[in-house]
């Protein structure tokens, strides 16, 4: 009987230890949230290291998935071949006209540039990266790319698909980085409406179509207007296309991006040599000096 009492005590102790472990894990989860909210460097480094470690696995896993997706796409394209052909013919007719216009404007532009001695924009450096991770979630829109600090990727750099801006770099690891899409709830970007040069802030809210906020002036925005980056904030060069106005109901203007999330497979990370968007950057802490010690 004595022994069973000891066993019972042991079981109680074990249960207590389990409870204690569980409660301490809950506390550490809450602590993680608070510390993560404070944005300390350690957390950011940890995130980057873990993302680095997982990116080769994700890279290997995403390749067959890409093949399957490509196959499905082929099947879908075959089914719509006729309609697609008709659409492309119509579009080609329209574009022919635009080509003529563009040629004329281009030659005019060259002449004007020469007359005015315009300094050309520097050619930006870029790297092309594959989307290796897209953890779909209702709580955030971001993707993992297989290029990191060793490839020259820096926080805040623009990410383009073709000529279209899709987001910017939010976290950088050694060989992986996180692309924050413009639709994410944390993404804010200075933009302008191309035709009227009205400036505004594009802010995502985890929906497919981000909102256009804080418009300057009283100009009206119409459905179909193109939205491009603006030079405000010296983040990105002006004029990179983003999308077009999709709806203006109830005073809320929503933008349909030119490139959608599911279409992203390879993206270009561009270094325009400007500040870029630095989402979580704080001003540097002033260097501490001992009294009497001269500054370097």
């Amino acid at each position: 009987m004595k022994q069973s009492g000891a066993v019972g005590r042991l079981a109680t102790l074990r249960l207590l230890a389990q409870r204690f472990a569980f409660v301490s894990l809950i506390i550490s989860a809450v602590a993680l949230m608070i510390v993560g909210k404070a944005d300390i460097l350690l957390i950011e480094r940890t995130r980057a290291v873990v993302a680095d470690a997982l990116s080769p696995i994700l890279d290997a896993m995403s390749r067959p998935a890409a093949t399957v997706a490509e196959f499905m796409e082929n099947v879908r394209e075959l089914a719509n071949l006729r309609a697609e052909n008709a659409r492309l013919k119509a579009e080609n007719g329209r574009l022919q006209h635009w080509q003529t216009v563009a040629r004329r404007l281009d030659s005019e532009n060259v002449v004007l540039h020469e007359h005015l001695n315009v300094i050309p924009d520097p050619d930006p450096a870029f790297v092309t990266a594959r989307v290796v991770g897209d953890l779909g979630s209702a709580f955030g829109h971001s993707m993992m790319l297989n290029a990191g600090a060793r490839d020259g990727v820096r926080k805040g750099q623009a990410v383009l698909a073709g000529e279209v801006l899709v987001g910017y770099i939010a976290e950088v690891g050694e060989r992986a980085s996180r692309l924050l899409l413009l639709t994410d709830i944390n993404a804010k970007l200075p933009v302008m409406v191309e035709a009227s040069r009205t400036r505004a802030i594009l802010s995502g809210d985890n929906k497919e179509r981000p909102k256009l906020n804080y418009l300057t002036g009283t100009t009206t925005v119409a459905v179909g207007d193109r939205v491009v980056t603006s030079a405000s904030g010296a983040a990105f060069p002006p004029g990179i296309p983003i999308g077009q106005v999709a709806s203006t109901t109830d005073g809320i203007i929503r933008i349909e991006p030119f490139v959608h999330r599911h279409e992203l497979e390879f993206v270009t990370i561009v270094d325009f040599g400007l500040g870029g968007i630095l989402p979580f950057e704080k001003p540097p802490v002033p260097e501490r000096r001992r009294r009497g010690q001269p500054a370097e």
Binding site: L54, L58, M61, A65, D134, L135, S137, G140, L264, E265
Partner: protein, 171 residues
């Protein structure tokens, strides 16, 4: 008699199966599917893994493993750190605590209980993310994500049950 080293290694590897499978589910969620609109509402597969193993083998997927999976989920998904760690931890705790209720019950009961737990976890993550990001999120994607997760539950449970039968029948 002590079992030989090979037997012990074999048992050890088999005991790693629940954690590995749950981690694999996590990575599976992270693969780009290139389906229009799917990424915003992709089902939370690790949630099902944590729920299943917490009921049928809580010794092999303890609370710290659920916590670890949650932290990895947060890092991969870019959600505020700790949100899914807490959610998965609570799911593990609740289902492991109530496992006696499930044993021997029909599949519909397990599905119904998962529906309740998944709703609770979706609601909790929604509240936590809203608090941490300081903005109200649109609840509709969360609702769709919940429905998809619930709809995939039978399929995934079948796969997980098969896995359990194959690797952990007598260890």
């Amino acid at each position: 008699m002590k079992p030989s080293i090979w037997v012990r290694m074999d048992t050890w590897v088999r005991h790693m199966v629940p954690i590995s499978v749950t981690l694999f589910l996590l990575l599976l969620t992270a693969i780009p599917t290139h389906l229009p609109g799917f990424a915003g509402v992709a089902p939370v597969l690790p949630l099902m893994g944590v729920y299943y193993w917490a009921i049928y083998r809580p010794d092999l997927l303890p609370a710290w493993a659920a916590f670890l999976v949650g932290v990895l989920y947060d890092i991969l998904a870019g959600t505020p750190l700790g949100v899914h760690a807490l959610v998965l931890l609570l799911v593990q705790g609740v289902s492991a605590g109530q496992r006696r209720f499930f044993l021997g019950k029909s599949f519909m009961v397990a599905w119904w209980a998962f529906g309740l737990l998944a709703a609770g976890s979706a609601g909790l993550s929604w509240i936590l993310v809203a608090i941490l990001s300081g903005q109200i999120l649109d609840p509709r994607p969360v609702l769709f994500q919940y429905m998809l997760t619930l709809g995939l539950f039978p399929l995934l449970t079948w796969v997980l049950a098969r896995t359990q039968m194959a690797f952990l029948k007598d260890v």
